[in-house]
Amino acid sequence: MSTVELLGKQEYKYGFVTDIESDVIPRGLTEDTIRLIVAKKNEPEWMLEFRLKAYRHWLTMTEPKHWPNISYPEINYQDVIYYSAPKRKATKASLDEVDPELLRTFEKLGIPLTEQKQLAGVAVDAVFDSVSVATTYKEKLKKHGVIFCSFTEAIREYPDLVRKYLGSVVPTNDNFFAALNSAVFSDGSFCFIPRGVRCPMELSTYFRINNSESGQFERTLIIAEEGAYVSYLEGCTAPKFDKNQLHAAVVELVALDDAQIKYSTVQNWYAGDEKGVGGIYNFVTKRGKCAGRNSKISWTQVETGSAITWKYPSCILQGDNSIGEFYSVALTNHAQQADTGTKMIHLGKNTRSTIISKGIAAGKSNNSYRGLVKVMPKAENSRNYTQCDSMLIGSNSGANTFPYIEVMNNTSSVEHEASTSKISEEQLFYLQQRGISQEDAVSLIINGFCKDVFLQLPMEFAVEAQRLLGMKLEGSVG
């Protein structure tokens, strides 16, 4: 570990571009753009109103550039393409009608959409640029009463549900990027688990950005009714471009009485090259509301990609005895910047939250944890435990911790612990003298460092995440 070099040998293997004809609208954003999107998607009047309201509010807002610990050149919002869809998109009764080129793309990404080829039963909704191209296992889920479909379909088929919950957790005027998303979001996933149903399989959405100049603005809405349970996975990749692309998603979760939602993300957007050219700006608003008593929302995220990550998956603990959890591994290498963390807002009595965050910064990257724990006066006997550990690899990276703790009653207890360290020379030496190569030893130690979080991931994801970390760090220790 005496000399630390950044070789970055490993290529980003999802960096290919799919050559597919797309239906692209002109760049720029005006009320007409929104009307065009609405027309293209055949949306009802209330959606247009929702979008316009968000757009008008967005115009009055300023980009949150001063408080996050990130920096990037000015984004020209008029130079973004707000809608891009692969052509030949008729309504798809079955997967046979999906463009084979698209199927091949997802196959290449390791996401087989043909159901026969599925491994363990995981239902997938695949989103390509602005639209959802396929959703698997829909019929099987329907038998259990679970609705899992693209957002466009949900607006068409289940308008009452969408209207009731859309914007109920993240209002259109919540923040700059959420407002932008509300105005122009093109598609995403919708998921509804009715009362008392335990969703029989893992649900997942796979996001793919293909167009070099379009932004991706997707929306996810998950509703778990009384006593329902669902585990949801999200994966993301994008091709390599020299230009930065904007990804501003909104995820809303609603858990009613006794419901549980487990939301896992493995984010591997293209991170740009060693010099920081290109890569995705990942400006995402994710929030869950534990609306009912005894409900539980658990966020697990493994953030390895994106040039910039600005993301704070949060829980509003409204119901009494509700539980919020946040498990995060954020790895930054080269010139990546991450400002990520969570917000736990305790409103109900006996609410509990746990935050475990592991940050690893290598290369010239900057990795910040920013988290808020707020205990309101009525949230009696609430508890929070926060642990944030950072690991620095090489002396050119930075690790920061910005916890905000606000407590407004005296029956609650909040604990925060944080530490920063580097990989212990002794551990490395010990592994190496057992014949383990230095790179493998580092990977092993890092995986141990992140174990608390990986244990929370569904099995296939955990394996994937471990592999991803090893790959991302390859060549960073010399």
């Binding site: 620095l392 990276s397 407590v407 920063t420 360290s421």
Partner: protein, 447 residues
């Protein structure tokens, strides 16, 4: 709020002009020039608002709203505070080594420095500025560390630099007796701007007590700035004891600049004032420095206290320790923001920061934000923050031993405070603070 601030600036402006007019020609041109620049800056900055991230949880509008009169040295009438009334605030160990300021004016009749070694200088700042022996030292260091460009309060203090304390510790001197700087205020609607400059030369060592108190319950405003400069191997123990009146506003800034292999041990005790804010900033720009930045705040009623600390590790092999504890009762509110910066070059840094808060009442509120920003990889840094109530198990254990519930609570609370008070090495101050904590707790028992 904006209009109120404007009004206030105008009233300060008038006093400022009087001060500037008087000091013309008297002591070189650099001081009036410095004041002028600081006043200009204050006019631009005004008082901070809650929109400023550094002032997010503390609203200083009440200070802006009241029309405080800045007291100028030459106007000072000898106030009625006599030695007997000060007895509560003086300390036995420093009876022969104290400087007493009443409403910002150094009172020779109440001060005594006979216990200090001859070569040690502790004089009024305004004297130091005119004394050819010290004016160069003052000029070299004054306002160099406390940045009036960024902070409105520091700008205002700098604009009124006049009286205060100048302490100079020559090379290798060891001062046994603690030097006590006692600032007493008792005038209604009075604004004072205490300014302290401490320069410790190589291997000098001393103990400083900086205390603020009131003999009345006046609603005055104290805006203090203390600059500490430690050269190679110097050591300073620094106690700040704030027992202002319950109506008072107390804004204080401590800036410490640590040289190589220095040791700076700061402890800030906060009991008083309706609204208090302490900014403490320790810069370690040389190898081998070590600092302790500890504190205890004990507030009740509608008190509001805010501590912002910055420990800036700029060079390798420096160590910092920080422990801040808070006890909150009534509807009081406490804010803690502790930043630790570890710069790119500061390898082998060891930094530990802890903030613990005990809420005795359901209406008290704490906002804490410990913050680490680390740019070097070979470091050991950790921080922790906790907010909670008294441990029920501990309480139960004491009760099973026949100790009354309320008494048991007080005992545990006292034990919580003791961790900070216990480290104070001056017996009389420690005893006094112990007593003050117990009195507060007992008052609670009787209520």
């Amino acid at each position: 709020m904006v209009t109120e601030i404007t009004k206030l600036e105008n009233s300060y402006e008038e006093a400022f002009r009087t001060l500037q007019g008087r000091s013309k020609n008297s002591r070189g041109s650099w001081l009036p020039h410095l004041r002028e620049k600081a006043m200009e800056r204050f006019a631009e900055l005004g008082f901070p608002s809650v929109k400023d991230e550094e002032w997010k949880y503390t609203n200083v509008a009440p200070i802006a709203r009241i029309d405080f009169r800045p007291l100028l040295l030459a106007d000072a009438v000898a106030p009625g505070s006599d030695a007997n009334r000060l007895a509560d605030f003086t300390c036995a160990e420093a009876a022969q080594s104290q400087l007493v300021f009443v409403n910002g004016v150094l009172r020779g009749d109440l001060s005594s420095l006979t216990a200090l070694p001859e070569e040690v200088v502790a004089i009024d700042l305004s004297q130091a500025l005119t004394n050819p022996g010290y004016s160069e030292i003052a000029r070299e260091h004054l306002a160099r560390y406390a940045d009036y460009v960024a902070n409105g309060f520091t700008a205002l203090n700098t604009a009124f630099v006049d009286g205060g304390a100048f302490v100079y510790l020559p090379k290798s001197v060891t001062v046994k007796a603690p030097l006590h700087l006692l600032f007493i205020s008792d005038g209604n609607r009075l604004a004072t701007f205490p300014r302290v400059l401490i320069v410790a030369e190589e291997n000098a060592s001393a103990t400083l007590i900086e205390s603020y108190a009131s003999t009345s319950d006046a609603d005055y405003f104290t805006n203090a700035v203390v600059e500490v400069v430690l050269k190679d191997g110097a050591r300073l123990e620094h106690y700040k004891v704030q027992r202002e009146s319950a109506q008072a506003f107390h804004i204080a800034t401590t800036m410490a600049e640590l040289g190589p292999n220095t040791s700076y041990d700061a402890t800030a005790i906060t009991f008083g004032a309706a609204l208090s804010r302490h900014d403490i900033h320790v810069t370690m720009d040389h190898e081998g420095a070590e600092c302790w930045v500890d504190g205890l705040y004990l507030v009740t009623g509608n008190q509001h206290t805010d501590t912002h600390s910055v420990i800036d590790h700029r060079k390798p092999h420096c160590t910092s320790h920080q422990l801040y504890k808070g006890i909150l009762d009534g509807k009081s509110r406490a804010v803690f923001n502790g930043k630790i910066f570890v710069r790119h070059d500061a390898q082998k840094t060891d930094a530990l920061q802890t903030n613990k808060n005990l809420l005795l009442s359901n209406e008290a509120r704490v906002d804490t934000k410990p913050q680490l920003e680390i740019l070097a990889d070979d470091v050991k840094c950790a921080h922790g923050a906790a907010v909670g109530q008294i441990d029920q198990d501990e309480l139960f254990y004491l009760e099973t031993r026949g100790i009354h519930h309320d008494l048991a609570r007080n005992l545990l609370t006292y034990g919580f405070a003791e961790e900070v008070i216990g480290k104070i090495k001056i017996d009389s101050i420690r005893a006094e603070l112990d007593e003050a904590v117990l009195n507060r707790l007992n008052a609670r028992l009787e209520a």
